[in-house]
């Protein structure tokens, strides 16, 4: 058994004993009842299970939970799909997913949402030129599987959020 203390969506979960081989996915879904994070393959191939890990230096990244032990998240701060909306207000990316009809069955949505959000935050820290933006989005989302949509509208939604706030996410190029 190993001690797991973790902060999820801003809420501190007091240290608790968990099995060494308990997956983070099962910790979220079975122990905490947080089933917004999905189980898809158990092999880190579909990425429907990813959560956002916030590092102390302010950076963030996604992490699959189906093949990662819960214990390995000890001391970490993470965000899940349940934590994106604040005070009843959906995040810009959540709104864009709805506006663009980005998903159909919606089972992969949490994974895409987390990955897209990480990309937005990375771009906010390190804006990129407009040229090549689509490739950057494609690169970011490419590991995620979706069987209903063909990915098109997920990409469009992320692009829309970035272009709607271009000053934040893109390097402002001098006018010629």
């Amino acid at each position: 058994m190993t001690t797991l203390g973790i902060t999820i969506n801003g809420q501190v979960h007091a240290p608790t004993e968990v099995r060494d081989d308990l997956s983070m996915n099962d910790f979220l879904r079975e122990y905490l009842g947080m089933t917004g994070t999905k189980f898809g393959c158990g092999a880190a191939q579909c990425l429907s299970c990813v959560v956002i890990v916030d590092e102390p230096d302010g950076t963030c990244h996604t992490n699959p939970t189906c093949v990662t032990s819960a214990a390995s998240f000890h001391g970490k701060t993470i965000r899940t799909v349940e934590g994106h909306a604040k005070n009843g207000e959906l995040s810009p990316l959540q709104k864009a997913f709805i506006r663009h009809f980005a998903f159909q069955c919606g089972y992969c949505t949490a994974g895409f949402l987390n990955e897209g959000q990480v990309l937005l935050e990375q771009l906010a820290r390190t804006p990129v030129p407009r040229a090549g933006l689509e490739e950057r989005i494609a690169e970011a989302l490419d590991g995620h599987l979706c069987r209903c949509t063909g990915y098109f509208k997920y990409h469009e939604a992320v692009l829309d959020v970035i272009l709607s706030d271009a000053k934040r996410y893109l390097i402002q190029e001098p006018r010629g």
Binding site: C46, Q104, L145
Partner: protein, 924 residues
């Protein structure tokens, strides 16, 4: 989002068990008001203005929606704790099953309950006929198929279950003895479809399935592969005539080789997995004290699932026989046919029954989903085609199909007939002869996966058509156009389509597209080391099953709030949104509440049914329909392709009745128009604009005012309707307010004011004739694709440089959802053509060792997302009814890719998928 546990319909099943069903949505208290909007009228209602789906907020906030999301403590009235079950499956089907060695589950890991075939026999579990075959392989028998269950292991605690699951992962504890070889079983279905057209297009057919019925060489033939000869012994009645014509067609094709182009080709397609994202899952709780079984399931066919479970337990011994079953159906995380008539539900049920008073959860992991989930049929095809060289017209076509149905029958017969009747695609061929057989094998069960049958046979056909065009030195699109079936032409079963036929328009669009126009120039411009090719294909796909039912209920409150209830399932296809939009056409506003997967709320119609709507004869139907409550089928399974056409039909008709006998008379009253005023009959001229009912020269009336007036005057404020389609909708007359109201429904109940729903007995009914069952299909939607590929000579790596798909679906209820489905279909088609494959038998998924990683699904980078153009063609007329389209969109890209590959490298592949390794091999 609010809980949708509603009043349940109760009825008594054949086994004497009371059943109730409902749709299950989030059961937990919600965190913020936005979640309560499903779809609601709040400011966050994403359906208003068509911006977003009605379930959008729930899906982006991680609400509990899917069966896999629910545990016992999420469900009101259930015990707190959830136990967990492992379904053990046999990874072998050629040796005798000896039992399980569970030594590795010693001590704390020991399961609390073990359920085997012997236990099922002990309590007298019955297997519904559709699922014929042992639910568990008994010790001492060879499994019927790879992945056949052998036992359920139930664990009280999650941790025990989880550790056991890990310990058992390699599957070697399931033990086998003597080698027997696979179990040999009769084939699931064998049919021959033969048509000989008359001398001219207008002349009646000489012979066709519609004229003569569907024929089979003999269910009495004992061999796995039928003997197709017209002179074979034990042929069934009527077969010989078809076989004589068929053999003649084949002889003519062979004899025409000197004067005509004759192609004789084989084509093999592979088994694939629907790979819906949510593995199958369910939750059950059997209260022994109350004899009540509660279930949470996620399937495409809720009604069938509940009935089958009731049959399963109908004669079980006490204390295992429930007196009541309450099944709740959750959203599904993808379906694609893989959750239609899935046997998984039985194992959830058995887990609950054998561990009474403890809620038990059964969930596939992905390995198990690959091992046992319903697959697409692999089909081996041989096709022969004769084309007149002078006219470029196809004169005859013959084919033989052999389908691998896997271990259980499931929908193999339907897939086989669908594949056969789709074998001539968009073309008008005067002489056709197609044989088809679906075999039992030891592979994983195959079923009705998206585009079933047609995908396989139309791919083979469109590759053959391409080859013929090139051999005749004809432009591939021109060749297709010369042979395309026109609006009034007959399909290969001998009937015309009853909906628009738009293949020619699709071909025109493909021809005009820059991808096609620039194909020669792009070939020349290819970079060094890259081969460029362009391909095209055009298909048409049936939708509906020839026995589709639709239940809808619409309620209007005094303040104008609209609630819609529908029996079809939300699979991601946006049926909830489509319902809201279709009802809004009649009631002027988007609904405040949409509930899908409903059955219990339609009981006011008090419908009854009998017989099998697919096989009954006219006399039986004529007799049965005298009962005004009788319908050929009460509820049918959901597939994405019938969501718009069937799923929304009854609700739309219910809304139409409310308008006609509720809102319209209310408007007349508010306008002070008396019943004798000629304007009183002008309801068809009224229009909704911005939530107001408008009529020229009269003040506009808002919905809430009309609704209040309708309630105050005790007019119709709610309607429950049922529709049945056998390639056309049943029509009936209902006496309402002294009028004979005619509509495409066969069951109706009305609510006046705030009263109760009351059944309206139909005065007369016209059900589609039972002979319509002889049609292959009468509903069709066309779709075409052209694609340019770039293939790296050195590596065989293929890149889709540009792709274009054009399709039609009548009136698109939610265009964004329709386009989304088309995009998803394109992706699934690319995966099918280039990536996805499951080997049969021992090396295949039945061994329990398959997962993503080995099984490749198209990712965004496989699709060239920014270079794919998908065009939704407008409806022929603004009021053209919605057509099914979710299936057709995945088909043409598959042969188009193969034709593009041939154009690029000069090699024509005759099997799927065409992988990079195969391309590299062909280029070597």
């Amino acid at each position: 989002m609010r809980t949708s546990r509603r009043e349940f319909m109760k009825w008594v099943s054949a086994g004497g068990i009371s059943l109730s069903l409902s749709h299950l949505a989030a059961a937990e208290p919600v965190a913020f008001p936005a979640r309560e909007t499903l779809p609601g009228r709040g400011k966050l209602n994403p359906a208003i203005g068509g911006a977003g789906r009605v379930d959008g907020v729930a899906k982006v906030t991680g609400s509990k929606l899917y069966a896999s999301d629910f545990r016992a403590n999420d469900l009101p009235g259930w015990p707190e704790k959830t136990s967990h079950a492992i379904l053990v499956r046999a990874p072998d089907a050629t040796h005798v099953y000896l039992g399980m060695d569970l030594a590795r589950l010693s001590g704390a890991l020991k399961p609390t309950v073990i359920v085997t075939a012997a236990d099922l026999a002990r309590i007298n579990v019955r297997v519904p006929a559709y699922y014929e075959g042992d639910l568990f392989c008994p010790v001492g028998k060879t499994p019927l198929y790879m992945g056949q269950p052998v036992a359920l292991l139930i664990f009280e605690q999650f941790d025990t279950y989880d550790r056991a699951r890990i310990a058992l992962r390699d599957g070697t504890f399931v033990q086998f003895g003597e080698e027997t070889g696979p179990i040999v079983m009769p084939n699931y279905a064998a049919y021959r479809f033969t048509r000989v057209a008359g001398a001219t297009p207008d002349a009646p057919d000489v012979y066709s399935p519609v004229l003569a019925g569907w024929v089979t060489p003999g269910r009495t033939q004992a061999s796995a592969l039928p003997v197709w000869s017209s002179t074979a012994h034990k042929n069934e009645a009527g077969y010989e005539k078809a076989a004589v014509y068929g053999d003649q067609i084949r002889a003519e094709i062979a004899a025409s080789e000197s004067s005509a182009l004759v192609l004789d080709r084989t084509f093999d397609t592979q088994s694939v997995d629907p790979m819906f994202m949510e593995p199958e899952c369910g939750l059950g709780w059997y209260s022994a004290k109350d004899k009540a079984l509660e279930l949470v399931l996620g399937v495409q066919s809720p009604y069938e699932a509940a009935e089958s479970i009731a049959f399963l337990l109908g004669e079980t011994k006490a204390p295992f026989k429930p007196s009541a079953i309450n099944a709740q159906f959750a959203y599904v995380g993808g379906g694609f046919g893989g959750r239609d008539h899935t046997p998984f539900i039985f194992y959830v049920t058995l887990a609950a029954i054998f561990f009474p008073d403890r809620p038990v959860r059964l969930a596939h992991d992905r390995y198990q989903q690959f091992q046992a989930g319903i697959k697409r049929h692999a089909i081996k095809m041989r096709s022969r085609m004769s084309v007149d060289r002078a006219s470029g017209k196809i004169t005859a076509f013959a084919a033989d199909h052999v389908l691998d149905g896997g271990g259980l029958a499931n929908f193999s017969a339907n897939v086989a007939t669908c594949a056969a009747t789709a074998a001539i695609g968009i073309y008008d061929v005067p002489k056709v002869d197609v044989t088809t057989v679906a075999e039992h094998t030891r592979g994983v069960t195959a079923g009705s996966m998206r585009g079933y049958g047609s995908l396989q046979t139309m791919t083979a056909l469109e590759v053959l058509i391409d080859e013929a065009a090139l051999a005749l030195k004809l432009d591939p699109i021109d060749f297709r156009r010369r042979n395309a079936l026109k609006q009034d032409g007959r399909t290969m079963t001998g009937n015309p389509y009853i909906v628009s036929v738009r293949s020619l328009e699709v071909l025109d669009k493909l021809e005009q597209h820059p991808i096609w126009q620039q194909r020669a120039a792009e070939k020349v411009r290819a970079a060094s080391g890259i081969l460029v090719g362009t391909g095209v294909a055009c298909v048409t796909k049936d939708y509906g099953t020839g026995g589709d039912s639709s239940n809808g209920r619409v309620e209007l409150s005094p303040d104008g709030r609209i609630a819609i209830f529908c029996d079809h399932v939300e699979m991601g296809n946006g049926i909830g949104t489509a319902l809201a939009n279709r009802v809004a056409l009649h009631l002027g506003s988007i609904a405040d509440e949409v509930a899908v997967s409903q059955v219990g709320v339609f009981d006011a119609m008090e419908l009854v049914t009998s017989g099998d709507c697919y096989t009954m004869d006219q006399k039986t139907q004529d007799k049965a329909e005298k009962d005004p409550r009788w319908v050929p089928s009460i509820s049918s399974a959901t597939s994405a392709s019938i969501g718009a056409h069937v799923g929304t039909h009854a609700a739309a008709e219910a809304a139409r009745v409310i308008f006609r006998f509720g809102l319209w008379p209310a408007a007349l009253a508010l306008w002070n128009i008396g019943p004798r005023d000629p304007r009183a009959r002008d309801f068809a001229k009224a229009q909704w604009k911005d939530g107001q009912l408008t009529m020229a020269g009269l003040p506009s009336l808002p919905l809430d005012k009309l609704a209040a007036a309708a309630h105050a005057r005790n007019l119709v404020t709610g309607a429950v309707a049922h529709g049945f389609s056998r390639w056309s909708w049943a029509r009936a007359r209902f006496p309402i307010n002294g009028e004979q109201y005619r509509a495409e429904i066969d069951g109706l109940a009305l609510r006046r004011g705030a009263g109760k729903f009351t059944r309206i007995n139909r005065a007369s009914v016209l059900f589609p004739p039972t002979d319509n069952n002889r049609m292959g299909t009468a509903y069709t939607a066309a779709c075409g694709a052209t694609v340019r590929v770039e293939i790296e000579k050195a590596t065989g790596m293929l890149r889709i440089a540009k792709a274009y798909t054009a399709f039609e679906c009548g009136q698109a209820l939610v265009p964004e959802v329709v386009i989304g489905q088309a995009q998803g279909g394109f992706a699934m088609g690319v995966g099918y053509a280039l990536l996805e494959t499951l080997p049969p038998f021992e090396g295949g998924p039945g061994n329990g060792q398959w997962n993503l990683g080995q099984y490749l699904v198209a990712r965004g980078s496989d699709l060239s997302l920014r270079d794919v153009e998908i065009e939704l063609m407008p409806p022929l007329t603004p009021d053209e009814l919605p057509k099914g389209m979710a299936e057709v969109v995945m088909i043409p890209i598959v042969p188009a890719l193969l034709n593009a590959i041939h154009d690029a490298i000069g090699h024509r592949f005759a099997a799927l998928p065409v992988t990079q390794a195969m391309l590299k091999g062909a280029l070597a």
